[in-house]
């Protein structure tokens, strides 16, 4: 009876989780999404605590309090640190799966409950959990620059990596046939932990976001496996939802970067494209002052702002808001063109711009704004590079060839804010900067934007 009630609670919880994700379809319904997921979680936890086979509470309470104490500060990180937070969170998720799998193994070892099926699933759960744990940690560390974010390679690296994984899997197979060979468990754990580190070593910091998204999928799968081990349908469902999300976000990123899925799916071996970095180009670029930029934009009818990774680095989103206000006050139509992989994680720019209070109906997606570009007077590119590189359209030899871009170059005038002529993420030159209708504004995005805004508001005060 009580088990049926618990089962019913899990069922309701699963429904609410699914509805939560459905409600993420628009910003209007998204707040309901969080509420629904929180309720779902509360129901699941309370139902679990009410189960008659859960008898010891005090240590659980202590662990939960500790977890909360760590979780709250982790939720207060600046938005620019969201990618590393996500990596850490994946790491914790993997750890939880691995710990529960291991614990369950030892319990069943005592009780004689080990079957080949169970040990097989536990092995997979532990392997996936451990590699997600160290992988997520490495990704977070590289993103936060706790360790050098550059790609570290050595001879026979791929062979070493693959061997670690194969060894762990073979031990898992061995356990299926010898379920009680408990010595294998710590070895599997060690191998999988090492594999997680080794897997991430050769990957440069810039490739981390894609990796994190895949780790998301892995964390989901390890939750599914935990659900199978514990015979818990709610865990299976929630894990599958998480896995699907990680998978789809990875697909979105790969597509928007025009890189084949397989490239990343099979462990993202290999380093970020090295590319032909700044090759001492002798052509000249035209640069302008913030004053020129302010003048140009205040006289325009339509301005489109293209934010990129540089805006995130410089934390210039609040200046962008001020610029938006100044221009809007003058009757200029200002929109933001957001490329799906601008920045370093999916939706990165949207969150930053939302943080600075820009109404989200002013954010346009690439497909919607490109046809309007020829009618735009001024495009202001704030720290974006690859996502406005026309080589993606024209230069078949370019590593980003075929990636859909924002057609900034088709506007009447293009203003580009960046600190130098250094390339962006993909390490390649950008023709856009040499165009006749392009003016460069060199400097830190926040500083340059501040100047422009000052000119505009000074002008406004003078008027």
């Amino acid at each position: 009876m009580i088990f049926t009630a618990v089962g019913a609670a899990y069922l309701v919880s699963a429904i609410l989780f699914i509805l939560a994700l459905r409600w993420m379809s628009t910003p209007e319904t998204a707040r309901r999404a969080v509420a629904s997921a929180v309720v779902a979680m509360a129901i699941a936890v309370v139902a679990t605590l009410a189960r008659p086979d859960v008898v010891a509470y005090q240590w659980i309470a202590i662990a939960a309090v500790l977890g909360t104490a760590v979780g709250i500060p982790l939720s207060r990180v600046p938005l620019t640190a969201v990618p590393e937070r996500t990596g850490l969170s994946q790491s914790f998720g993997g750890m939880a799966a691995a710990l529960v799998g291991t614990a369950k193994y030892y319990l069943w070892l005592e009780e004689g409950g080990l079957t080949p099926f169970r040990t097989g699933v536990i092995s997979l759960e532990v392997i996936l959990g451990c590699l997600t744990c160290t992988g997520g940690l490495m990704a977070a560390a590289k993103l936060a620059d706790w360790i050098p974010s550059k790609s570290i390679t050595y001879p026979f690296q791929n062979i070493v990596n693959v061997s670690l994984l194969i060894l762990a899997l073979l031990l898992g197979v061995y356990l299926v046939f010898n379920p009680t060979a408990s010595w294998a468990i710590p070895v599997i754990i060690a191998l999988a932990l090492a594999f997680g580190v080794a897997l991430l070593m050769p990957i440069g910091g810039a490739d981390m976001p894609t990796v994190i998204s895949f780790l998301n999928a892995y964390a989901g799968i390890s939750a599914v496996l935990m659900g199978i081990v514990l015979e818990n349908l709610l865990l299976i469902t929630a894990g599958a939802l998480d896995g699907a999300s990680g998978f789809i976000l990875s697909v979105v990123m790969c597509k928007a970067m025009n890189r084949p899925m397989t490239n990343v799916l099979f462990g993202a071996f290999g380093s970020a494209p090295a590319g032909a970095a700044a090759t001492g180009d002798t052509r000249t670029v035209q640069s302008a002052t913030p004053g020129d930029a302010a003048m140009l934009m205040s006289q325009a009818d339509r301005v489109v702002i293209v934010p990129g990774y540089g805006m995130a680095v410089a934390q210039a989103q609040h200046r962008a808001r001020e610029l938006y206000d100044q221009l809007t006050k003058r009757g200029v139509d200002v929109r933001f063109a957001v490329h799906p992989v601008a920045g370093r994680m999916p939706g990165h720019m949207n969150v930053l711009l939302a943080e600075s209070d820009i109404p989200y109906d002013r954010l346009a997606e690439m497909e919607d704004i490109n046809p309007d570009m020829p009618q735009v007077d001024v495009v202001l590119v704030i720290g974006a590079n690859d996502v406005v590189n026309p080589a993606a359209r024209t230069d078949t030899s370019s590593p980003i060839y075929g990636m859909p871009i924002i057609d900034a170059d088709k506007a009447r005038t293009v203003l580009c804010i960046k600190r130098s002529m250094n390339p962006g993420f993909s390490g390649i030159e950008n023709e856009l900067y040499y165009n006749a209708n392009t003016l460069m504004l060199f400097g830190d995005a926040k500083a340059v934007m501040g100047e422009i805004v000052k000119q505009l508001s000074g002008e406004a005060a003078a008027a």
Partner: protein, 99 residues
């Protein structure tokens, strides 16, 4: 608790994956970053599994391991929901304050 066999588990997994793919595809691109943190939080329902093992009244290593899992999942649960709420609160349609 519930009667259980591997095929049932796979059935549920298969259906849940289809559901997951369908609902996630419907998520607005605007919200991909909060989506990531929300699914993180949702997958921390693993805390249920951790509680089941940790609260089983056993002694020794398994319980300690499971308590570690309770800690790790609670961390995700709390930080995931809080940061998602924080991010979503930023998305506003009309301009609510003067800059």
């Amino acid at each position: 608790m519930t009667a259980f066999d591997p095929i049932t588990a796979l059935f549920v997994l298969m259906l849940a994956s289809f559901v997951g793919l369908a609902v996630i595809k419907g998520v607005s691109r605007l919200l991909h970053t909060p989506l990531m943190s929300l699914t993180n939080a949702i997958s921390s329902v693993a805390v249920v599994g951790a509680i089941l093992v940790a609260g089983g009244g056993h002694d020794g290593l398994p319980t300690w391991l499971a308590l570690g899992a309770v800690f790790a999942s609670t961390t995700n649960l709390v930080s995931g929901f809080l940061i998602t709420r924080r991010m979503l609160a930023m998305f506003k349609k009309r301009e609510p304050r003067k800059a």
